[in-house]
């Protein structure tokens, strides 16, 4: 199987009294596009900086290609970073910025010239070599920053929210370009972002982080479809979450009694009868109608129908006071605000989350 290129084991980091990274374990596979995803302050940037050597771990081991690097300075490590604010040298031209790493390593001038040209071609900045950063747009600066890091042929490229400062359209375009670049060069990318959509679009694997620990590690598909914890379910996409207790678990079908007695069914195994569970349903997976459905349905009142661009979002108030979000492509003519409706979903569209522990089930 693929080789592990970066390995973090029991890594802890304190900033003063603040315990920001807690017994952090992560193995990054060679050639993959791994995203550290989480809200701001979850420690994702700190992890990146510790791999780069810009921050020391308080305890634990960090290995790059099986070699321990805790005592290696940033300038001795074979990794490069694309910084959030680009951090281009303002007194240098595009050419000088890109050539910096090679100049420092005293590579012959002729070779530098060729490699810089290659890089400029790759990031489509031919003709900009004489410009200084303040004469370039955000997108162009971003490309320079990427070229400046990649020219060193790092074993791992670390990207710290590199697209954060770009507008939406450019960001989408750069996402695709970055992914293409990563596939082409076959370099391991470790990407930090708080944008779940970005993570889902680009990553081979996503590590969802919260408060210094990995909540869930998996492919975008797994994480979206089967969130392991309530936090992940809420952070990746949107979820309606119902508290309940399992009344029967047979043949991979769970029957759950909601906290106010309503019955729900969903697919799931590995649960025991009587176990408390959280049932999650994506807003686009749930359906509602004026008539109750045979299997199960939850009764509620339509509170609001909001047009959000690509779809209509209906907010339905259940009898126990919980609000359920349901997205629909079209507006239902016969359903108005104030109507009583019944909510249901197909068995395979619901998923359960254990209340305690962090294991995922399907």
């Amino acid at each position: 199987m693929a080789d592990v290129i970066v390995e973090l084991e029991k890594v802890n980091k304190y900033f003063g009294q603040n315990h920001v990274i807690k017994d952090f374990d992560l193995r990054i596979i060679e050639g993959e596009f791994l995203t550290l995803l989480g809200p701001s302050g979850c420690g994702k940037t700190t992890i990146l900086r510790m791999i780069a050597g810009l921050e020391d771990a308080t305890s634990g081991t960090i290995k790059i290609q099986d070699e321990r690097v805790e005592d290696k300075e940033a300038y001795e490590r074979d990794v490069n970073t694309v910084f959030q604010s680009y951090a281009l040298f303002p007194h240098m031209t595009t050419y000088e910025n890109i050539a910096y790493g090679l100049n420092v390593k005293k590579i012959p001038k002729q070779e530098i010239k060729e490699r810089v040209r290659e890089m400029l071609e790759m990031v489509q900045l031919m003709g900009y070599e004489g410009r200084k950063p303040d004469m370039m747009s955000g997108g162009q600066k971003q490309r320079v920053a990427i070229a400046r890091a990649l020219i060193n042929k790092p074993k791992v490229l670390l990207l710290d929210e590199p697209l954060g400062a770009l507008d939406l359209k450019l960001r989408k375009q750069m996402q695709i370009e970055l992914k293409r670049l990563q596939k082409k060069l076959n370099i391991t990318f470790v990407y930090v972002t708080h944008d779940q959509e970005e993570a889902l679009t680009m990553s081979d694997r996503i590590a969802v982080m919260q408060e210094g620990v990995v909540e869930q590690l998996g492919t975008p598909d797994e994480i979206y479809k089967y969130p392991g914890t309530k936090f992940v379910a809420g952070f990746i996409g949107e979820s309606n979450i119902f508290e309940g207790e399992i009344i029967s678990a047979k043949n991979g079908i769970l029957k759950v009694a909601g906290s106010s007695g309503e019955k729900m069914t969903l697919l799931g195994s590995g649960f025991d009868e009587g176990e408390p569970i959280q049932v999650c349903v994506r807003p686009e997976a749930a359906v509602y109608s004026k008539e109750p459905k045979d299997g199960f349905s939850l009764k509620g009142t339509v509170r609001n129908i909001i047009f959000v661009g690509s779809q209509y979002r209906t907010l339905i108030l259940l009898e126990n006071g919980q609000e359920v979000k349901i997205n629909r492509g079209r507006k239902d003519r016969d359903i108005k605000e104030g109507d009583v409706v019944y909510i249901y979903w197909e068995d395979e569209d619901g998923f359960g989350i254990r209340k305690k522990g962090q294991e995922t089930q399907k």
Binding site: L54, A74, N80, F89, P90, K105
Partner: protein, 297 residues
């Protein structure tokens, strides 16, 4: 413009309306500069081309002799020494000021403000008091000589007074606070992520310092040089108080021509030379900074 809006305002009124705020704010300082800077300056230029009479008065006879006189070896030596001491002072200010400014810039802003305050306190004490205390420190039976003799490092007191060295020390006590301020301002503005980027790209600390820190704090360095070199060049009370007349610098020379020898025209020509040297420095500065801008294209 007035016609466009369909309103006609009397020209006089609109002129005053337009320029009133500008005039009332910049007017006083303009008058001040005119009366106390420009006119005296022109007067000095004027008399530098005049002739001195036997009694120390000025004869209104055009001559270039005052400028020719500067070329005498005696005066050239004084100018050379002034340049040399100002240069040494500037270099020491940079070498001492830069690390201090760097250190202060690395502190949280509250601590930094306190440290800057400490740097400035000597500047607020009377400069003559400061100079005389330097004088006392360096005296033949002063504390420095006493301590050195007590620990047996020297057997006879050093003759520190009235030397170039003590003049440089005097210049330093006057100039160091000024050198720290512009350096601090530019180092404090330096984006720390650029230093990290350099580290990340494989540069060892001294390479980062040479290739990133120094170029990006150049405005502070040049500011420091201008702020220290120019005043050091013309300062006359420091060599006067510490050099005891033995160390003659261009500032003292100008003073002597005006107040002792009563040769105003020659003093004026020396003063003009000093102004020209200053302008040359500023010109070099603007050229250096402009070149940097032009390179963008």
């Amino acid at each position: 413009m007035n016609e466009k809006n369909g309103i006609t305002v009397k020209d006089k009124k609109s002129w005053f309306r337009r320029n009133g705020p500008v005039l009332s704010t910049t007017g006083p300082i303009s008058v001040w500069m005119l009366v106390f800077v420009l006119i005296p300056m022109l007067y000095i230029i004027f008399i530098s081309f005049m002739t001195r009479d036997v009694y120390g008065g000025i004869v209104y006879d055009f001559t270039l002799d005052n400028y020719k006189e500067i070329i005498q070896p005696l005066y050239l030596k004084v100018i050379w020494k002034s340049l040399k001491l100002a240069f040494i002072t500037t270099v020491i200010c940079l070498l001492l000021g830069y690390p201090l400014a760097y250190y202060i810039a690395g502190k949280p802003s509250k601590t930094a403000a306190k440290l800057i305050m400490l740097v400035m306190i000597p500047y607020w004490t009377n400069s003559l008091v400061r100079l005389y205390s330097v004088n006392l420190l360096g005296a033949t039976n002063g504390p420095i000589n006493n301590i050195l003799m007590d620990i047996g490092l020297i057997s006879e007191p050093l003759d520190m007074l009235y030397s170039d060295g003590i003049v440089v020390i005097g210049l330093l006590t006057a100039m160091l606070p000024f050198s720290v301020l512009p350096l601090y301002a530019s180092i404090e503005k330096l984006d720390k992520s650029l230093l990290e980027a350099s580290r990340d790209l494989g540069a060892r600390p001294h390479i980062t310092f040479l290739k990133v820190t120094i170029p990006l704090t150049m405005p502070g360095i040049v500011g420091c040089v201008l702020l220290v070199f120019i005043p050091s060049l013309g300062m006359y009370y420091v060599p006067e108080a510490l050099g005891g007349g033995k160390v003659m610098l261009i500032g003292s020379l100008v003073r002597n021509q005006f107040l002792v020898t009563k040769n105003w025209p020659f003093g004026a020509s020396l003063a003009i030379l000093l102004v020209l040297m200053t302008l040359a420095m500023v010109w070099i500065y603007t050229r250096v900074s402009k070149m940097d801008d032009l390179e963008v294209f």
